[in-house]
Each structure stands twice: as structure tokens, then as C-alpha cells.
């Protein structure tokens, strides 16, 4: 099983995300993460999909995406693409653990963005593996709640996906 990141340009229009996700359900694709947002072109949105699977699953996903009427461009991103994810994580602290948590956040270049008498909220940005590592690090302190955005990714260089 490999992990793939697939980027899709779709019409920036009401209901298009539903068409994409409905197809995943119908065809039995299991998606690890999905993000969607506006792009450099106002008429398009960009969907970034993470998928674990073999070459067959990847090929089928791409083919079925390309068949959708509102999908303009589909591509599997190169392995060396820039991938980032943002996480908000609430961790409980005590007098004894507070400085350890803050030190860890510093090392991960994370920011404490909220602080109450019993918990703090930390914002972490980075490659998904860094996010995973930070979560593992926080488990002993007592994680209260996590929210991850899913990956956004761009290929390196001065071209856009639409040019390819």
C-alpha cells in the first residue's frame, strides 16, 4: 500500500464537491484526507485528496474523477511535492508538565494560541509526518481534542497543474 496525493481542479460551483465525494462512496474508494479551497483562478476550486492504495486503486480513482463533468484536471502529485497540513491540538497541562509541552511546541515550531488554567491550544503546521510525530509526543500529557485540515500540496517549480 502506497500513499498518493492527487490534486483536482473542479468548477468552483455549488454542489461540485458532492459530486466528487458521492463518486468515492459509489466506487468504494477509501479516502484518507480531502481538502478543498479556491485557487489562483476564480472559476476553479482545488481539491487535494490523499489515498492509500495500490496502482489499480490510483488508476481507477483518476479515471473516475476525469469522467465527472465538472472536473477539469486531475493529477497525481510528484513525490517531492511540497505538502503541508495544519493542526489545532488542545492538551491538558499541570504545573509540572507545562514547560515540557511548551518546549516541545518550540522545537516543532508550533505556536501556543490559547491558554486557559487547565489546557492550552497549540497550532502546528508541517508535513503530515511531523504532525503525526507531534501527536505522539503529546499523548502522555493528555490530548483533549484534535482538528487537522488534511493536506494541501503543490508541486515544485514555476508551472501550475493546469499547464501540465
Amino acid at each position: 500500500m502506497n500513499k498518493f496525493v492527487i490534486a483536482v481542479y473542479v468548477d468552483n460551483r455549488f454542489g461540485v464537491l458532492t459530486r466528487v465525494t458521492s463518486m468515492f462512496t459509489r466506487r468504494g474508494f477509501n479516502i484518507d484526507a480531502l481538502t478543498v479551497g479556491e485557487t489562483e483562478r476564480s472559476e476553479y476550486s482545488r481539491i487535494t485528496i490523499c489515498l492509500s492504495g495500490d496502482g489499480y486503486a490510483r488508476e481507477q480513482l483518476i479515471n473516475q474523477l476525469r469522467k465527472l463533468h465538472n472536473v477539469k484536471k486531475v493529477d497525481v502529485l510528484e513525490d517531492d511535492s511540497i505538502k503541508r497540513e495544519l493542526m489545532l491540538i488542545k492538551v491538558g497541562y499541570t504545573k509540572d508538565t507545562r514547560s515540557d509541552i511548551i518546549t516541545a511546541a518550540d522545537v516543532y515550531r508550533a505556536k501556543v494560541i490559547d491558554y486557559t488554567p487547565e489546557e492550552m491550544c497549540i497550532e502546528v503546521t508541517g508535513d503530515p509526518s511531523k504532525i503525526d510525530a507531534f501527536i505522539r509526543l503529546m499523548i502522555p500529557f493528555g490530548i483533549i481534542e484534535i482538528c487537522r485540515t488534511g493536506i494541501v500540496a503543490l508541486e515544485r517549480g514555476n508551472t501550475t497543474l493546469l499547464d501540465k
Binding site: 454542489g15 458532492t18 479515471n63 463533468h69
Partner: protein, 560 residues
């Protein structure tokens, strides 16, 4: 000129070449029906008994002609009643446009009376769909719907129009009929690679499906088979593409295919697939499917290449162009050993059939029913079927004198499809139409008899009546220890009286002679006729490849 949305809908349908629509009025399409009233000299509306019948009629209309079938229904239950018909068209790649009304935009999302999110419901069963919330988009969306329905791999498109959009007015300018989006032509290297495989093949099998049938490639397929000394087989959807009388044509292959056709496909060293999707009913266990064979697949849909079986060469392009280029570039040759083997398979098949025939005594068997139909039917007859055993017998035994003469729900296997589709086929062509149905399937949508009588559509209904749900019973017989759970119908329906009550003609036949006499009268009487044709409840469809099995598991005979 300024028109109401409802008028724009009808004018756009007319502009796009629609001459007939099937539908049923209701609260949220009254305006559309008012426009139909206004333009009744330019567009014919067929009122069915049920919206499902309208959707199957639009589908049958399309299958018999290749034109885009159109159906109309109101919001809520009207729209959901179309769903089975739309899904049927989707699974068999049939071009269709369905127009539904909906509650006014101001009431959308409020669970209003007869409100349903029909674009949401039909998302996975349409090629695309539209919810029109601006009248500016109305005409162009309908035009796009036609274009999507007929381009590439065809399919159904739904356009949902809220009531206030039907009432609003907007500028309308007629436009020409939208053309299909042209498919790319195959690259020369791909054609060369395919030609190389064709030239190397010693046991070629041309395998045609609904794609080839839709393009009317039958004559070209026969020509290529003659040139490279190949045999021809088809999937269920490829039936009637190759007209009768071609020795090389072995018939349908697959789960209930002809023995020779399935065996030859398994022994071939090259399968040239034209508009086929290698469905599970055609391949059986894919890991054992055609292991000795290279496969070339020609299809307009890239998602079909390597989806169900791995192919050696997949050419996603204009299928007709690719096929003709391969056919003209390959070398003529002869494969006497292969043809001798195919002939041997054909005689083995004839042997199995003769054995079954001998055991049947004087009974009215499915084979004998079709012998009579084939002999007595009029030229250009369209054979429509429902779903079940009778459908497979029709697929095995029916003869076809030209393309687009077989109308049947293949992919979805929709019981209740037949009568609506027969109505649509006749409305589209005025050609003789014979519906082969079973007592189970017919029971699902027999209300459309009222439609056939109302419009005096002389459909001949051959109801193959065994008193059971025969196909499921066959599985129960073979794989479930004869436990006939809920498949014995045991109904007291008198189908002759039922036909008469609807205003149609009814006959009953229990012997071959009775059937012949009834059928001969039926095809000439010019009215809808139902022939209640009695057969034994334990008749089986043979041969059979058990589900998930391979050609080695083929069942050719079963002791009763």
C-alpha cells in the same frame, strides 16, 4: 423573443430534434404541460400510467433508434418514480434526458409538499444533472444535457426545474441541434500495435458489445472476421448488432451465453473487444477469464480500460475510426485449424440442444416458443424483453434481421422494464414490436397495458408463464438445495381476462400449435395483444456458468 421558462423547455426540446416525449403531469409541471398543450402540433406527448413507465419508454425509444429519449415528471414522487428508469439507462449507456419539476426556489430545502432533492438522489445514476436556479441558464443547460447524453459513452442526464423558473420569462433564441463532442482519433502507433497483434493471432475472436451495436458496426465486424478468418461473439448488449445469417457469429457468450461462443472465447489467442466493458456476467471469475488470450479493447470511455480485466492494448478513442483503421491495415489470412475447432464447438452445442429437445416430449418449451416467433414474426420486428429466464431465452434464441432490434435491460436487470420500453420502441419506429416477458416481470408494471390500449400501440406481449420466479428458482434449484423461498407465485391472475379488462386482446397457449395460431393472429391484428403462454416451472436456462465460476464449471444439462 421573451418566453416563459416552461415554454423555453419545450421549445428547446423541439429545437434539439425531440418529436416525442413520455411523461405524467403533476403539481410542479403544470406549466410545462401547458406549454406542451400550446406546442402539441410540434411535439407529441405520450401519457403513461406511471412515471416509471415513462422513463422506460424514453429508454426504449432511444435503444430502438439511437435518438435521445425524453421523459417528464413532476417533483417528489414523480421524480423518484423515474429513478429506476434512469438507472437502467445509466447501466446500459443509453442517451436520455429527464426533465423534472420542483417546488419554487423559495420553498427548496424546507421539506415542502412533494419536494425531493432529485439531483442528489440521481447523482450516482446520471452522467450529469442540473438544478436550474436561474432562468438565464435554462435553455443552455438543456442543450448541454443533450450534448452530454449523446457524446462519448452515452447516458442519462436529468434537468430539475423549480416551478418559479418555469413561470419566469426570459429571452429565447432557437439554436441548432448540438453536435456530439468529437472523440479523439487513435494515435497511429496504437493502431500499429493492435494490427501487429491481429496479424500474429491464429485464433482470433471479435467480441462486440453495446458500444459496437450503438455505432451500427455489424457489417464492418463481419467484414473483418472474413478477412482475418475470425469468429464473432457478443455480450448481452451486443445482440442484434450482427444480423442473422453470418456463420462466424456464435452468439452471446457469458453466464447464459452459447456454449460455442463462451468456449471459443476461452480458447482464443486474441480477443478484439469493441465497445464491451467485460462485466461480471460476461467474464465470470476474472482471474480465470480468457487466460490464453491477448486482449485489445476499443472504447470511448478511458475508465473502462483495465477496470474489470487487464487488457494488452486499450484504445480510448473514436471506436468506429479505430476499428476501421485496424480492419483496413491488418493482413488477410486463414486459420483453418481454428475454424475447424469452432465448427466442432458448434456441433457440440447442437448436440446439447438436441438432447434437451429430445427429453422435452411434446411440451411447449422456451426453445419452441422462439422457433415459432422467429418463423412468424414480421420483418424489422423489435424484440423487447423484461428480466429473468425469458430474457435469457430471448437472448439465446431470438433472430434479428437488422441492428437495434433487441431492447432489454442488461446492466441493471430491471424487472418491469419491458412494457414501457416496448411502448417507447413502437412510438419511435412504428415497427412491429414483440415483448417477451414473464409472469413475475409483467406483474411489476402491467399498468402500462392501459397506455398501449389508449394509443392503440399493437405490441404483441408473449407472457412466458411458469407460475414462478424462474431465474431465482433456477438458482435455488442448483445452489440452494431446492428450497424455493418465496419464488412460487401461486397467484390466481387470469392474464387473458386481465388483457381484456384493459381493452387489449388476450389469448392462451399451452401447446406449440396453440401458440403458433395465437402468435400469427396477434402480429396481424393491429391491436395490443397478450398471449399467456404456459410452460413448465422447472425449465432452466442453459448453459450456465455458475456465478463467480469459470468456463470449466459450465453446466450444459440438468437432470430434472
Amino acid at each position: 423573443m421573451k418566453l416563459t421558462g416552461a415554454e423555453i423547455i419545450i421549445r428547446t426540446l423541439i429545437e434539439q430534434g425531440t418529436t416525442d416525449v413520455f411523461g405524467y403531469p403533476g403539481g410542479q409541471v403544470i406549466n410545462i404541460y401547458d406549454a406542451l398543450y400550446k406546442y402539441q402540433d410540434e411535439i407529441n406527448h405520450v401519457l403513461t400510467a406511471h412515471e416509471q413507465g415513462a422513463s422506460h419508454a424514453a429508454d426504449g425509444y432511444s435503444r430502438a433508434t439511437g435518438k435521445v429519449g425524453v421523459c417528464i415528471a413532476t417533483s417528489g414522487p414523480g421524480a423518484t418514480n423515474l429513478v429506476t428508469g434512469i438507472a437502467t439507462a445509466m447501466l446500459d449507456s443509453i442517451p436520455m434526458v429527464a426533465i423534472t419539476g420542483n417546488v419554487p426556489c423559495s420553498l427548496i430545502g424546507k421539506d415542502s409538499f412533494q419536494e425531493i432533492d432529485i439531483t442528489g438522489v440521481t447523482l450516482p445514476i446520471t452522467k450529469h444533472n442540473y438544478f436550474i436556479n436561474r432562468i438565464e441558464d435554462l435553455a443552455d443547460s438543456i442543450r448541454e444535457a443533450f450534448q452530454i447524453a449523446k457524446s462519448g459513452r452515452p447516458g442519462p442526464v436529468l434537468v430539475d426545474v423549480p416551478k418559479d423558473i418555469q413561470v419566469a420569462t426570459y429571452e429565447y433564441e432557437p439554436q441548432p441541434i448540438v453536435e456530439k463532442v468529437p472523440l479523439p482519433k487513435a494515435k497511429e502507433e496504437q493502431i500499429e500495435e493492435a494490427v501487429k497483434l491481429v496479424n500474429e493471432a491464429k485464433r482470433p475472436y471479435i467480441y462486440i458489445g453495446g458500444g459496437a451495436a450503438g455505432l451500427g458496426l455489424g457489417d464492418e465486424v463481419v467484414e473483418l472476421a472474413n478477412k482475418i478468418d475470425a469468429c464473432i461473439g457478443c455480450s448481452f448488449m451486443g445482440l442484434s448488432a450482427v444480423p442473422d445469417g453470418c456463420d462466424r457469429f456464435l452468439g452471446m457468450q457469458g453466464m447464459h451465453g452459447h456454449y460455442a461462443s463462451s468456449m471459443a472465447q476461452n480458447e482464443a489467442d486474441l480477443i478484439i473487444g469493441v465497445g464491451v466493458r467485460f462485466s461480471d456476467r460476461a467474464t465470470g471469475n476474472v482471474s480465470k477469464f480468457a487466460k490464453k488470450s491477448k486482449i485489445i479493447q476499443l472504447d470511448p470511455d478511458f475508465a473502462e480500460i483495465n477496470k474489470n480485466v487487464r487488457v494488452d492494448i486499450g484504445i480510448v478513442a473514436d471506436v468506429e475510426d479505430s476499428f476501421k483503421r485496424i480492419a483496413s491495415a491488418c493482413e488477410a489470412k486463414s486459420n483453418p485449424e481454428w475454424i475447424a475447432r469452432v465448427e466442432q464447438l458448434k456441433s457440440e452445442e447442437a448436440g446439447f440442444e438436441a438432447e434437451i429437445e429430445k427429453k422435452s416430449g411434446d411440451a411447449l418449451t422456451p426453445k419452441r416458443i422462439f422457433d415459432v416467433i422467429n418463423e412468424c414474426k414480421l420483418p424489422a420486428t423489435i424484440t423487447v424483453t423484461d428480466v429473468g429466464q425469458h430474457q435469457m431465452w430471448a437472448a439465446q434464441y431470438s433472430t434479428f434481421d437488422r441492428p437495434r432490434r433487441f431492447v432489454s435491460s442488461g446492466g441493471l436487470g430491471t424487472m418491469g422494464f419491458g412494457l414501457g420500453a416496448a411502448i417507447g420502441s413502437f412510438v419511435a419506429t412504428n415497427d412491429p414490436t414483440v415483448l417477451i416477458t414473464g409472469d413475475g416481470s409483467f406483474g411489476m408494471n402491467l399498468n402500462e397495458l392501459a397506455t398501449a390500449v389508449k394509443y392503440n400501440l399493437p405490441v404483441v406481449i408473449v407472457l412466458v408463464n411458469n407460475g414462478v420466479l424462474g431465474m431465482v428458482r433456477q438458482w435455488q434449484n442448483l445452489f440452494f438445495g431446492g428450497r424455493f423461498s418465496n419464488t412460487v407465485l401461486d397467484r390466481q391472475t387470469d392474464f387473458v381476462k386481465l388483457a381484456e379488462a384493459f381493452g387489449a386482446v388476450g389469448y392462451r397457449a399451452a401447446t406449440k400449435e396453440e401458440f403458433r395460431s395465437a402468435f400469427e393472429q396477434a402480429v396481424r391484428c393491429g391491436r395490443p395483444v397478450l398471449i399467456d403462454t404456459i410452460i413448465d416451472k422447472d425449465e432452466m436456462v442453459l448453459p450456465m456458468l455458475p456465478p463467480g465460476g469459470s468456463i470449466d464449471d459450465i453446466i450444459t444439462n440438468v437432470e430434472k
